[in-house]
Subunit: 339 residues, 2 copies
């Protein structure tokens, strides 16, 4: 089958890879309907993470082709969605809603779902089938659910977005934008998107942002304070992963407020004094997307949300390299690869 | 009046100070029944914080002598307790339960309650009267409530201690010990006190600890994991303020678990990667003791808890210097000063 390999930073190629096979009796093999490039794939692409001949991709939707002997909840022919962490969904950590930290978790990025087919470990715990075969127009939204929607949703939940709350969102990538959508769905009263990019501002507004702040860093914090009677936001979503973004997020929250962070942290240091002094709640990490799959599948199936709008460039899998380049140059927010 | 002045690290003297006067119409003057020395007073005593001719003390209980023209809720003759942060208890931050971050807050440490009398700003918001004049034997417990009990309680709440939870407590000072008591009262199933000091271990057990772990650092973390099926504690209280204690706390919590930290952070750095990787919740800072005063006053009044047991040395105010020395040398957990 064809699949994406990143040989080195900036060097992405689509090549012939071995077809996946059932290894464990809990595995399933899916034929991908679509896959995509993640903002976090840009870390190795830009040399910030080590990479060497690695299969790429951890987002996926598709049709089950084959299941191992112990798989009970999905069958060949089912259209399924899973998260970027495979999880058993039965361990104590999973049952507490932290499937991304499952004691048996497998990182899908090590399998590489930017490909025609993929092996999904722990299929019963990982995959959730849609109510039926979705229309093609729903595919982008289901694909978004595999990571960016689930991650934005977790960030909003971690930030305790909800009725009566003012939510600030740091980061205008796909995750930040879907954090806006999640905050809106969770009932937030006011949603401040921090973005200086006209197209992303527009999508943020479409997803529910009530205010846009173009300033960054200390100026951005000052603006958030100005919009919140000097107190700061109740809830802040951090969806970047840099020191500047984390400081902007923490300092934009009011005392007792909540910062939900999902940007993959790179060289971020948080001083204990800052945490002590601000009195905020900090929670984040890899989103337990599996926790949210059933509810979010239904919202998409019922066409109540349209997260697929974050895909502003669609390319065939063979042109994956162009997709990486477009995201790296910020010409595209999120690239879908059709298989 | 007599009051404690710290002239420099290690140089504590009881001297004549001006009697406090009503400055704002929202002030009250109290005559202290007792005051005490806080673990955080040891930071300047040991030279870790700057100090120069500073009045000391931020914990207090006593009888109201005089109130400003606008004070409505307490009257001369009332026995009152307040927190180490004076707060209006009416601003948006106070109403959300974060009185220690009140927009009008005043740090009592700048006033210095290791003295015969003290001015209490924002008296209506800050002070809560007991149901009547307490018996002398209750004074230590009410005094503990002014900071260490309220702080330990907040840590336990921030760590989401509760039924079915395993709670680990890092720090065996007065705050850590009262964190044990709080976790017990909040219904925690299992409480692991981390201490290598026999006397403190015994008090921890008396307050509700079910297990004692003497190991520290990585060994302590390994022990907590061993006691929790390899997962870590649901809730961890950090009551020290050092890098080692914070790392021990974060690494002792399970994914999705909660760390409540109340040790005054000194040179603590928390990496974003650690926060991302562990998936814990982190919340802490100066405890909003005021939030808990009414309920905890009642628990003490009804003799359901006895937090005053953390005082293992009682001295007259004039011997404050001996009290500092005893705490610095860890000969005493917590020193009460009678006035």
């Amino acid at each position: 089958m064809r699949g994406v390999i990143m040989h080195a930073p900036g060097d992405v190629r689509v090549e012939e890879r071995d077809d996946p096979k059932i290894i464990e009796p809990t595995d399933a093999i899916i034929r991908l309907s679509a896959t995509c490039i993640c903002g976090s794939d840009l870390w190795p692409y830009r040399g910030a993470d080590d990479v060497h001949d690695a299969p790429m991709g951890h987002e996926y939707v598709g049709v089950v082709e084959e299941v191992g002997a112990e798989v009970k909840t999905v069958r060949p022919g089912d259209f399924v969605i899973g998260s970027f962490w495979a999880s058993d969904n039965t361990c104590e950590i999973c049952r507490a809603g932290y499937q991304s930290h499952c004691v048996h978790r497998v990182l899908m990025g090590t399998i590489g779902t930017q490909a025609e087919r993929a092996r999904i470990p722990l299929a019963d715990g990982t995959l959730v089938a849609t109510p039926g075969m979705p229309d093609d127009e729903l595919i982008p939204s289901f694909l978004a659910l595999s990571d960016v929607l689930g991650t934005g949703w977790f960030a909003a939940v971690a930030a305790e977005a909800g009725p009566g709350k003012t939510v600030a969102v740091v980061g205008d990538g796909a995750v930040g934008l879907l954090g806006v959508l999640a905050a809106k769905q969770l009932g937030a009263e006011r949603i401040i998107a921090m973005s200086r990019h006209a197209g992303r501002q527009a999508l943020a507004r479409e997803f529910g942002a009530t205010d846009i702040v173009a300033e960054r860093g200390d100026d951005g914090v000052a603006k958030i304070k100005e919009l919140t009677d000097g107190l700061g936001a109740h809830s802040v979503i951090e969806a970047v992963g840099t020191q500047e973004a984390m400081m902007q997020a923490i300092n934009s929250a009011r005392p007792g407020g909540h910062v939900g962070f999902v940007g993959v942290s790179h060289d971020v240091e948080i001083s204990g004094e800052l945490m002590f002094g601000t009195g905020i709640h900090l929670h984040g990490g890899p989103a337990p997307v599996r926790r949210f799959l059933p509810d979010l599948i239904q919202l998409i199936w019922d066409r109540k949300i349209d997260p697929g709008k974050v895909f502003d460039l669609t390319l065939p899998l063979d042109q994956a390299a162009d997709g990486y380049k477009a995201m790296d140059e910020r010409r595209a927010t999120k690239v879908m690869l059709t298989v």
